[in-house]
């Protein structure tokens, strides 16, 4: 086993235009045309677009109304998350047949550590091509693979390989590969950091690499500066970590139309709290930190959180904290686009001793909600829900 081949064992596999590719599989007549997957309402955003649509400037997260103007001929297909999840499961199965060291990043992308599969399947490049062939064959969608010795270079390589390609960057070529790239290509460089760097005249990764670390640290802060300097020379010590357990469970809702009605917002918080609590109970977990996310009509987003004295999986508890956090913002009928509720600091429910409450009823909210869970299992989601949530359609399955 040569040193260089051994060092070059991380794959980043990423589906090309994932949702759109899945849709093309069902609508072969649309191949070669601009296709956009996105919310059909005027409030939707582009979730995925074929390369034909991208040629018009359509990209992910663009408001649908803009996408329409850029590419009026595009075919718009509403998303079908169930189908994408099914394809995703198939993809992950292919990955896990190669190595147990699979770190999924999203439905359609993952890092793989393949050094252990060399004897069975050959070198990393062969493995990458084998994966591409298997996915094309089984799922009928294209993907791109980046091969490198670090996660970060592997991810950049797969991006450069798109669409439907493979790019290997062996260690001795990392510097030559990285240095011509714009600084924004580096992980952790967002708009603000990019601005700070451009002000110093640092346009490419190579410029960064030739700049003293202390200068970078002055410009973007000490941690970020050190991080950028390391990345600029291709140093990224992170290893592939197989599927991490959930660090948080939550739910959010984008309103059909911006909402400023406090009653409506509270009702949504209740629904999201109940849904989050239900998921916690399903997974047998409890969490100590409740956070809320608010996105205003101008897209500015804030989150607020509070840690409870004791972990919970009770919707009422989560709701009480969520409303208190929102009340404290003093929104005064600000127009909201989205609200979200999340519980963090998770741990197993079974192992938790429970602090009892003075005057506690023998059957409290926790027991009531567990009974509602049982009813939901028998009669379907939303069989039992709070009175304030009645007269509405049952909760949507979350994203």
């Amino acid at each position: 086993m040569t040193g260089h081949a051994a060092a070059c064992s991380i794959l980043h596999v990423d589906m090309d235009a994932f949702y759109a590719s899945v849709e093309l599989r069902r609508h072969p007549e649309l191949r070669g045309q601009p296709v956009i997957v996105g919310g059909s309402s005027t409030r939707g955003v582009v979730l995925s677009a074929t390369y034909e649509a991208r040629a018009f400037g359509v990209r992910s997260a663009l408001p649908m109304s803009r996408a329409h103007r850029l590419c009026p001929d595009a075919v718009v297909i509403p998303p079908d998350f169930a189908a994408y999840s099914a394809v995703s499961a198939g993809i992950m199965e292919v990955f896990r047949s190669v190595t147990p060291l699979v770190e999924p990043i999203a439905l359609d992308e993952a890092f793989l550590e393949v050094s252990g599969a060399r004897r069975r399947l050959g070198g990393p490049v062969e493995i990458g091509e084998w994966i591409r062939a298997r996915i094309a064959d089984e799922q009928d969608i294209p993907c791109s693979v980046g091969v490198a010795s670090t996660k970060f270079v592997a991810k950049l390589a797969s991006t450069r390989a798109k669409p439907d390609g493979l790019l290997a960057v062996p260690p001795e070529r990392v510097v030559a590969f990285l240095h011509p790239l714009p600084v924004a290509a580096l992980w952790g460089v967002g708009e603000r950091t990019e601005e700070s760097l451009l002000r110093l005249g640092l346009r490419t990764v190579g410029d960064l690499a030739d700049t003293p670390v202390s200068t970078l640290q002055r410009a973007v802060g000490s941690a970020a500066g050190a991080h950028l300097a390391a990345l600029a020379w291709g140093r990224d010590p992170r290893s592939v970590i197989p599927t991490e357990p959930d660090r948080s469970i939550g739910s959010e809702e984008t309103f059909e139309r911006d909402v400023d009605d406090p009653v409506r917002i509270r009702r949504e918080l209740l629904r999201l709290s109940e849904r989050t609590a239900g998921r916690l109970r399903d997974s047998g977990q409890v969490g100590r930190t409740v956070s809320v996310k608010i996105r205003f009509s101008d897209f500015s987003t804030i989150t607020r959180s509070r840690t409870l004295p004791e972990a919970t999986d009770v919707g009422r508890d989560i709701y009480a904290v969520a409303t208190a956090l929102v009340d404290r913002l003093g929104l005064q009928r600000a127009r909201l686009r989205l609200v979200g509720v999340r519980v963090e600091g998770l741990g197993p429910a079974a192992a938790q001793p429970r602090q009892l409450v003075l005057g506690q009823r023998a059957f409290g909210w926790r027991e009531a909600e567990q009974a509602a869970d049982r009813a939901a299992r028998r009669f379907g989601a939303g069989a039992v829900r709070p009175g304030t949530l009645f007269g509405r359609r049952p909760p949507d399955p979350g994203p």
Binding site: P309, A320, A324, L358, G359
Partner: protein, 391 residues
């Protein structure tokens, strides 16, 4: 305006008033402290619409007047001054403070725009300041700090003739202190829900004098009729927002007023167990030390388990996969052998609030509240809900 004043007296008064100033004031004037002098009295006052403070001290006055300056800055300056008399006067729009060879010039704010301090409500009665300070300190430990249930962040003050009762609960524990006081008139029964933090600070600050006078206008008296379980769920209990009622405390030439909380404090009398199945009596200091030691291995909110048997209690914490600790103490125990678990910091809060050498713990079952008492259960009681162990 021009006066001379003792450096320590000024620094104390300013520090006290400045402590209740808002760190982020609704408008800049409220970050100010008002310094006013007449004949021979200097008054330092602050106000943020919820809490007002006023401290009076002797000063040699050359010219009466008032000036409004940044409270935080003045507090920092007076704290750092050398031990020399302080002289202060106005010079145009600036206040000049000199002490020894140190000289400060501070910009002043418009006195005319400063809000009127609330008028002290009608006197209700008075009480020894040390007794009051200790009583308040023993109760506020049980007050809620979490503003999801704002009414529980208050201390319920109940006056019934010559008896004053203070109560606070955060749902997990409840502290009740009853003490005699001297009512000004026959008030009958009156109640007030006072923000716990302000009450604690006021009671502590006023221990300098012999007595504290208490004056209040009660808010709409809901008389603690709410059911505890429903308050805990947040379904009743009112908004717990700052109400229109006002309470004032006065002593040692300082006075402070604070807005009362609106809301329905839970009816706590019914939570007190009418009987107990078992009691344990043990030396308080030894128990405190043992709980502290054993709790070292209890992670985050993990409990300490107490197993009582005839003449002994065994404390345990930790689990099979973690560090473990056990310790035994002598205890006079009457009842069936029992194991009960508590949040160690809640237990320590209660033990710390007792002013006796021994503690009596009364139990009914391992899932019902335990009652901690010292010398006399009629004077102070600390109810503590246990932690239910799994498995």
């Amino acid at each position: 305006m021009r006066f001379r004043v003792d450096r320590d007296a000024l620094a104390d008064a300013v520090a006290w008033s400045a402590r209740s100033l808002p760190s982020r004031p609704a408008f800049p004037l409220l970050a100010g402290l008002m310094i006013s002098v007449d004949d021979s009295t200097l008054t330092v006052s602050g106000f943020d619409y919820e809490v007002s403070t006023e401290a009076a001290l002797d000063a040699a006055t050359d010219a009466a007047g008032r000036v409004l300056v940044s409270g935080r800055l003045l507090a920092e300056i007076t704290r750092s001054l050398p031990a020399q008399p302080v002289e202060m006067h106005t010079d145009g729009a600036r206040a000049v403070l000199t002490c020894g060879s140190a000289r400060f010039e501070l910009p002043t704010m418009a006195v005319a725009d400063y809000p009127e301090l609330p008028v002290m409500p009608t006197l209700a009665g008075k009480i020894g300041s040390d007794v009051f300070g200790a009583a308040v300190a023993s109760v506020v430990v049980a007050a809620g700090r979490d503003d999801t249930l704002p009414v529980l962040t208050g201390v319920k003050l109940t006056i019934s003739g010559d008896q004053l009762t203070l109560a606070a609960t955060d749902r997990y524990r409840l502290a009740i202190r009853t003490l005699p006081w001297e009512p000004a008139d026959d008030l009958g029964t009156a109640t007030a829900l006072v923000p716990a933090r302000t009450l604690a600070e006021s009671a502590k600050a006023l221990t300098g004098g012999a007595h504290v006078s208490i004056a209040f206008e009660g808010n709409a008296d809901l008389a603690g009729k709410a059911d505890m379980a429903r308050v805990a769920e947040g379904t009743v209990g009112g908004n717990g927002l700052v109400g229109s009622g006002l309470i004032g405390f006065e002593g040692s030439r300082r006075r402070t007023t604070t807005r009362l909380l609106d809301g329905d404090f839970p009816k706590y009398q019914s939570l007190l167990p009418s009987e107990s199945a078992a009691t344990a009596r043990l030396e308080k200091a030894a128990l405190v030390e043992a709980v502290r030691r054993v709790a070292l291995v209890a992670q985050r909110t993990a409990p300490v388990r107490l197993s009582f048997d005839t003449s002994e209690v065994t404390l345990e914490a930790g689990g099979v996969d973690e560090a473990q600790a056990t310790e035994s103490l002598a205890a006079a125990y009457e009842g069936e052998a029992m194991t009960i678990a508590f949040n160690p910091s809640f237990l320590l809060d209660g033990l710390g609030a007792l002013d006796s050498d021994d503690v009596t713990l009364a139990f009914t079952t391992p899932t019902k509240p335990a009652v901690l008492t010292g010398k006399d259960p009629e004077i102070y009681r600390y109810l503590l809900m246990p932690v239910r162990l799994t498995g």
